[in-house]
Structure formats: C-alpha cells, structure tokens
Amino acid sequence: MSQEEFKTIFDLYFDNIRSYLYYRCGDVFISNDLAQDTFMRIWEKKMDVRPEKDVGLLYKIAGDLFVSYYRKERLWKNLPEEIRFEQNGASPEEALLYKELEEKYEKALGKLPEKQRIVFLMSRVEGLTYQEIAERLSLSVKAIEKRVSGALCCLRKEIKT
C-alpha cells in the first residue's frame, strides 16, 4: 500500500474510527490516540485495506486496541459517566435552547449500555444507515435495529425525569 492509498483510507475513515472509540470510552484523548494507533498499525503491517470492503477491519482493529488498552490500564471501573458534546452550527437561540438538553443527554448517554450507545450514536451523530453500521461492526441489521430501539427506550426514560 502506497502512502497515497494510505492517505485516502485515512481521509475516508479517520473521523468515523475516532468517533467510534469516543462512543466507547467518552475520552477525547484516549480515542484520539487509539485511532491514530489503529492507522499506524495498518501502515506498519503493510495491510492491504480496500475502501468500502475492509471498513470492518478498521473497526475491529480499533476495538481490539481499545480493549487491550483498557485491560492494560485497568480502567474498567471508570467507564464513562457522560459523553460530552458541543453544539455546532446551531444559531445562538438554538444553542441556548439546547444547553439544558445537552447536559441531560450527556448524562443519559453515559448510562446507556456500551453496545446500544455505540450503535445509537453512529446512527444519529454520523448519520450512517443501519446497513452501513451493520457492515462496519460485523453485525446483522436486525441487531442494529434492536440496539437503536433499546437505546431510544432508555433515553426516553432518562430524559423524562
């Protein structure tokens, strides 16, 4: 794989991978580092990653790196308490409106089971279709549907209170 090809892969998927890791750990620094390591690994191993077809591989490497990092650092106990977001592209009024909502969501997302949270955020924040998510995480579309509806259900309960 040449550096140009590597750059293409990076441009296409770096944001997705970094976000995916963020949904799992809720820590911008760790997810940034691990996403960088994911691409570094692909380069070092001279893996032949084709766009579209091998996206699942990227997610798999990122997930494995995340698991081994957490195992090494013994961080299982402090799972994310909240998933922080900032509002972008919203008008000042809207931003004000969402401020309260944001805090609620951040806490509620932190309480979601990891599997539901990942799938839900991939769908809502990145706007990926269920089909795309299923391919990237090597899951069935049915499983994605189930997790998203589970997440919605949990969020409803949390936001209401």
Binding site: Q3, Y22, Q36, F85, E102, R124, K160
Partner: protein
Amino acid sequence: MNQEKRHIKNQDVQDELSNQFFPHAKIPWEKSKEGVWNDLEKRIAKEDQNPELVRRLLPGRQWLAMAASLVLLLSVSGFMRFYSVKTYCPEGVHTTLKLPDGSEVELNAATHMKYQPYWWFISRRVELDGEAFFRVEKGKKFKVVSVNAYTEVLGTTFNIFAREMDYAVTCHTGKVRVTDVSTGKSVELAAEEKSVLNKKGGFTVSRLSNQREEPSWTENLIMFGSTPLKLVFEEIERQFGIVIETPAEMQQVYSGNFTLDQPVENILSLLCLPFDLEYERQTGKKYLVYPARE
C-alpha cells in the same frame, strides 16, 4: 386510551428533540484530523528512516527456507529410501546374515541379496537372486522379491530357490504367499509345503515328504529327489565353487543325498556311476564329465 396517546405523543417529542439535537452535536476534539495526519506522517517517516527496527520476514527468504527444509527432508528420506546393502555369498560358502529387525537369512552358495537397512521399519523388502533360508521375526509384511515371483510373509521360516528361470519356495513353519510377477497368480503355502513355479506361470504345490525344521543345505547336506541331472551338477558346482563341463544331452533324473564335508571327487564318482558317466579333473577347478567309453 387517552393516556396511551399522550404517552406516544411524549415519545414523539423526545425523539424529535433527539433528532434536532444530535445532528448538531459535535465531539469536542482537541486535535483536528489534519493535525493527526501530520503526526502520523512524522511517525511513518521516522519508521522509514530506521527500517532495521522493523523485523520483516521477506517473503523470498521465507520461500527459500521452506524450499531448503523441503530439499533437506527429501534428501534424507531419499537416502533412507534408496540406500541399500548388497550381499553376495560366493560359491562354495554359506553365509548367515542378520537383518535390522532381528530376522535371519542364511544364504546358500552363489546368492545375491539386496535390502534397504534404513527403510527397513517402513517396509521389510528383500531382493533375492539365488537360494536362501529365512527366519522372519513377527511383524509387518516381509517381502522377498525375485525376478520371476515374490513371496510375502508375516513371520515364519521358509526357503526360497530363485535361480534364473527356476523359482521354488518351501515353507517350513507358518504361512507364506507366493505370487508370480508376470501373471499375478498367487498361491498360499502352509507349513511343510513346497511350491514350484512351472513354465506355464502357475505353481505346483506339493507336501514335503520328510518333516524337517530347516532345509538340508543349511546343515551341509544336499538332497536330490527326482532332480534333473543337469540341476544336480549345477548345485555341486555352486557348493564346491568348481566348473563342471557336462554333455549337452542329459535327460536322466537323480535321487540321493550327499554331505558336503567330503571331497568333491567322492560325490562325482558316486553320481557318475549309475549313469554310465566318467569324470576327469582338468586344470584347477575345472572338471569334465563325459559318457563312459565302452
């Protein structure tokens, strides 16, 4: 009903809120994508500068190693397969030989034998040209191959006579199977049975008249029962390592025994007498047998 409807409406409000909220939600990254790419580029460049830090198994070298080990394996097994020991027992002598598994072979005079000692535990196979008596240890199939036929056994004692066109097997204990190479016909011999390969490619099986544990020649005794005179002279030639010139026409058959610890002249005179033959010693080991002149 009403309550349910309100509940649904409530859900819709929540979902709408989330639909409005999430498209605007951005993760507060510390570093931009471009910044990360610059870092990555630096790391890649560094790696390319110190390529010796990266342990690469060159595919070519891998193939080379595989090929080398394959060649080694082949040559070792090839050596084991094809390395053979040839034994020749000269005329006038009997030899006893031990095979790798403890089986014993007694070679009669003027006999060639060949076997593969390093391949022995995979296939017990002996090539024989001449006459030999086998005491085979129990085990896998033991095969004795000659030009005309081969004999297979598991563990017995038996005698094989394989000279030129003649092939005869005598089974002393156990069971053996004899197969003709050209026709593929085979015959199974029980103890005390003898089979002779006849000219038509089949086997003539007969029972031994006298029960002996071992063939007579291993005890320095040669026995002939209705044997063509030509073959009798040939056997004496081999046992004493001499050359006997005989008349071309000899149709008689002979029955009788000789011990081998006497001078060859005694035997020749005993043999010649009933057939009206005379013999004469020529130079060295050469004897001439001719019809007696009136």
